[in-house]
């Protein structure tokens, strides 16, 4: 009896087509893998949001990025307007959800991260205290707990932001400000201000604040050495305010009891 060919079995024929297609596609993927890897590495290097750290976080972001491409900045802007509406209405749950949405859609602008962190760290504590009966009724311990909780949330958000903008002085300053203003932790605030000064877009004031914090921590000698170094490296720019730095140096010399040859010679004296 003559054996039937695949053509006489439509299902077999279809399976054959699928098998050929799969084999060709897998073969192509394997052959093209080195080329794709090089391209993918180059593309990922320029776009931090393409790095997949966690599957859950990446899916939503990936859909937006994959479908909208460059249009995502506009979508994120409209979401930011909605976020502000939630903020005005003091809707805490809505605000949290919108922050998550905006920063997922477009994590590139530091503006979104910094302002969201400020809302969480500075505004939400007031709302929570007001909801609990106001400053008169809520004990100081409870207030401190609320402040601490919100500050930690803001810091977590900024930490997430740093995974996209690891060299951002603005984000590091913001973290330092939260440690300084919300948690009164001068040690950690000083650490973050110092980290900010090391970034190339650091504002001039970051170094002066860092030195102030060292003084508050009674580390005057360190502050003095830092300010001297800072002064010597300041550019010829009025915005750098070299005279103020020099003034601080002189104050510290007085405080440290330095005189004569021990004092700093700036060249401007």
């Amino acid at each position: 009896m003559k054996a039937k060919s695949a053509v006489e079995y439509p299902l077999l024929e279809r399976l054959q087509s699928w098998a050929v297609a799969l084999l060709v596609l897998v073969g192509a993927a394997l052959v093209l893998k080195p080329v794709k890897d090089v391209c993918w590495e180059a593309v990922q290097a320029g776009q931090a949001e393409l790095r997949v750290d966690s599957l859950n976080e990446s899916v939503g972001q990936g859909v937006v990025l994959g479908v909208l491409g460059g249009l995502r900045s506009l979508v994120a802007d409209f979401a930011w307007l909605e976020l502000n509406r939630k903020w005005e209405a003091r809707d805490r749950a809505g605000l949290g959800a919108m922050i998550q949405l905006v920063t997922s859609i477009d994590p590139r602008p530091e503006f979104f991260w910094i302002n969201s962190a400020r809302m969480i760290g500075y505004d939400v504590p007031h709302w929570r205290i007001a909801e609990a009966g106001g400053y008169g009724l809520v004990s100081e311990t409870e207030q401190a707990t609320i402040n601490m909780e919100q500050a930690m949330q803001a810091l977590a958000l900024l930490d997430q932001a740093l995974s996209y903008h690891s060299g951002s002085a603005r984000l590091k300053l913001e973290i330092g400000q939260i440690y300084l203003n919300r948690l009164q932790n001068y040690e950690l605030a000083a650490d973050w201000f110092l980290k900010a000064t090391k970034e190339k877009d650091a504002p001039y004031f970051a170094g002066r604040v860092y030195a102030d914090l060292l003084v508050r921590l009674h580390r005057e000698r360190e502050a003095y050495a830092f300010l001297k170094e800072l002064y010597l490296n300041l550019p010829e720019d009025p915005m750098a305010q070299g005279d103020i730095v020099l003034e601080r140096i002189r104050e510290l010399e007085e405080r440290l009891g330095l005189a004569g040859e021990a004092v700093f010679h700036s060249g401007a004296d």
């Binding site: 993918w40 320029g46 393409l50 994959g66 491409g69 460059g70 506009l74 802007d77 602008p109």
Partner: protein, 272 residues
């Protein structure tokens, strides 16, 4: 050989002529131009990035988004209409090979996409040039790298080529136009999101699901590699090494060939 090339060119020319006569093409071009011209208006809603970066982002997004819709809709329609109207039957009864017919179709669609890309890139270049002239800047400052705007357009055109070939493959086995279009759209979506599967499959503990995710990464091309808008055009953009551009083009060309071959493999066995 020249006879085959003539045949391919004839199919290409006919496909292109038919495509540019479609209202859908004009609508998409008009929407695209409208969006680019309106980018200045939308810029007032922008909070995060500077004006030129916003316009570049927005325009690249428009090119990417509308181009994908156009290539899939036009690609599927132009191929499938030949089957539905039985004109493919007439054409293939003549001494024209199945592969040449498909290649001609793809070239026609690619010509259409080239026209679309050139219109949008030309408009974007003009818009940015006018805007840059109005901005106060130091002599010698390069605020926009115009050549890179066209490079982005060219790379998207290569990506559209992959999608066009996918449309032919899907059309070669699909039984209805709508089905072919929907499957092609899903294919594009999976291709755009494939990188998530590729990057995260190691995290998945459930073994069969892990294999499935890995298989996805093998079967579908990573279309996200063409998403290079952030690296091009703006003065702060890092740029793209020439070698990477060549490799991207090679990646697209290889996949176009693979899908075209698969489309031919299916199409020649299909009863019209």
């Amino acid at each position: 050989m020249s006879g085959r090339i003539d045949q391919i060119l004839a199919v290409c020319g006919l496909t292109f002529t038919e495509a540019v006569r479609q209202k859908f093409f004009y609508i998409v071009v008009l929407i695209g131009c409208g969006m680019l011209l309106g980018s200045g208006y939308f810029q007032q809603f922008d909070f995060g990035i500077d004006e030129l970066k916003f316009v570049i982002d927005f325009s690249f997004g428009t090119l990417f988004f509308l181009g994908s819709i156009l290539v899939i809709t036009a690609g599927t329609q132009l191929f499938y209409s030949e089957i539905e109207n039985r004109t493919a039957h007439t054409l293939l009864a003549k001494p024209i090979r199945h592969f040449d017919f498909l290649l001609g179709k793809l070239c026609g669609v690619q010509l259409l996409m080239l026209l679309f890309v050139m219109i949008l890139c030309g408009l974007l270049t003009g818009l940015l040039y006018l805007r840059v002239q109005a901005l106060p800047f130091m002599e010698g400052d390069v605020l926009v790298r115009y050549g890179e705007l066209w490079l982005y357009g060219f790379l998207q055109w290569a990506r559209f080529g992959v999608l066009g070939a996918v449309c032919l493959l899907v059309g070669s086995f699909a039984r209805s136009y709508l089905y072919a279009m929907m499957v092609s759209f899903f294919f594009m979506l999976v291709g755009q999101l494939q990188y998530i599967a590729q990057e995260s499959y190691r995290e998945i503990a459930f073994l069969p699901l892990r294999w499935l995710v890995q298989a996805l990464a093998w079967v579908f091309p990573n279309l996200q590699v063409f998403n290079v808008g952030d690296q091009l055009g703006h003065m702060q953009a890092e740029g793209l090494p020439f070698l990477v551009v060549l490799q991207l083009l090679w990646y697209a060309a290889a996949y176009i060939l693979v899908y075209l071959w698969l489309a031919w493999w299916n199409f020649k066995r299909r009863e019209l």
